[in-house]
Subunit: 214 residues, 2 copies
Amino acid sequence: MTQIDRQSIPVPTLRRMPAYCNYLKSLSVKGIVYVSTTAVANDLNLIPIQVRKDFEYTRLSGKPKIGYNLELLIEAIEYILGWNKMSNAVIAGVGNLGKALLSYQGFKNYGLDIIAGIDQDKKKHGKEVAGRKVYPPEQIGVLVKENKIGIGIITVPAESAQLMADLFVKNGITALWNFAPVRLNVPADVVVQNENLASSLAVLSQRIKQQKEK
Amino acid sequence: MTQIDRQSIPVPTLRRMPAYCNYLKSLSVKGIVYVSTTAVANDLNLIPIQVRKDFEYTRLSGKPKIGYNLELLIEAIEYILGWNKMSNAVIAGVGNLGKALLSYQGFKNYGLDIIAGIDQDKKKHGKEVAGRKVYPPEQIGVLVKENKIGIGIITVPAESAQLMADLFVKNGITALWNFAPVRLNVPADVVVQNENLASSLAVLSQRIKQQKEK
DNA sequence: TTTTTATCAATATAAATATATCTATTTAAG
DNA sequence: CTTAAATAGATATATTTATATTGATAAAAA
Ligand SMILES: NC(=O)c1ccc[n+]([C@@H]2O[C@H](COP(=O)([O-])OP(=O)(O)OC[C@H]3O[C@@H](n4cnc5c(N)ncnc54)[C@H](O)[C@@H]3O)[C@@H](O)[C@H]2O)c1
Ligand SMILES: NC(=O)c1ccc[n+]([C@@H]2O[C@H](COP(=O)([O-])OP(=O)(O)OC[C@H]3O[C@@H](n4cnc5c(N)ncnc54)[C@H](O)[C@@H]3O)[C@@H](O)[C@H]2O)c1
């Protein structure tokens, strides 16, 4: 295939995109206008070839000896990531992790707005976390309708995660971000992104082991 | 290569290991003794070939028509993951995320014990989060010496992350789990595992986009 | 202007990972 | 005891991702 299929950006490339975006923005505030893949690679501990390959998915082209136009590049990456327009989300489970995510200001830069929390715990109903109200599960329907919720975030204990997923799906949410360590069963048209700290820890443990063997 | 090199387990395999482990343990409590890769694959939405490939890294062999011995399999995976023996960790930054991680009971099953918190904020010193005390940064040295700390967890704001990394490294910690959205500069012999929610969100956004195009 | 140099772009190769196929083995059923 | 079915294990192939190579191009230097 000689032409790059814009629709199928490799996942590893996609995962590097936010880092590019943040880095490029940091250059932008310094008043820099052009950036070369060599420079990017150098600062992000990558190799230039990989950066160039990744940038190809923006459909932009750079100028030899000069590099890419910073503004256009940022715009293109933000477009790819969907960071240029906000998606509304609701988070189910306002416990330790749920509160942390609700309080996190960084998501705004990533095009994500968690507009409300859902929790079983009656004591939490009506309370606010970082300016976002907590509602009982029965309220999901209303919340979704009134706020164009696209994403459901799951931070309830593992045993309730499937229940919450079902509730989200029943109310028309088709994208789930799941922090509970379980595999969710959902209809084929629902997208699930699992966040699994155990997986990361597994990789870290292994690397520590190998490090010790040297 | 016909013989599998035990030392170099592919990262994707490694990332699946915790899910296997949890699943197998759930079978174990039901009194099941043997499990086939077909059954595992079925329940975890994987394909049997992949499960079999992954299990090869345990160096165990299963019996046709029967499967693998559950106990041995769990033991082998826990050994690979290092979950059979505890590693002590310290977490720097007892804010929203830091508190959530400190409070998380799941890590105990993953061989990780976060024994203390480190924070700049004087108001937090001496306080406890989930039974773990919070200390000022100057205390790291003592903590490391007294508790055989192997892992430093970084949940401070991005701008302080490098500072914390340096402090950890200076005190002999050679493995970092970094939740701040920055790339850390560390000596070559220090292992860094970056946890990047932005990356995951990028993948999710993209999948939502593709979903809509259908 | 000509040469040099940095960098992009296109193409090729390699490595890692996932999937498929085939054979041998074991057990359970007949 | 024989046979059929299930499944591990070995090997082969395909796919995806990473890296290397080569040539073209534009800017800066000679
Ligand atoms: N805390 C962490 O650092 C961490 C790390 C990794 C994964 N996780 C996972 O995230 C999830 C939440 O962890 P946590 O530490 O925040 O737990 P938590 O117990 O602090 O919070 C869970 C919250 O969910 C609510 N809840 C329970 N059942 C519910 C239901 N059916 N409907 C609505 N709300 C319900 C509870 O009231 C509580 O507020 C767990 O699945 C955990 O495994 C947490
Ligand atoms: N909260 C989230 O859900 C979330 C999600 C993804 C990433 N992160 C990242 O995790 C990090 C922490 O996020 P947070 O929401 O917990 O922030 P926070 O502001 O709630 O907590 C930060 C804590 O670090 C402490 N701190 C600051 N500088 C320090 C220093 N030099 N030494 C020691 N302690 C110091 C502060 O006192 C505070 O307690 C950030 O880098 C953030 O980008 C957070």
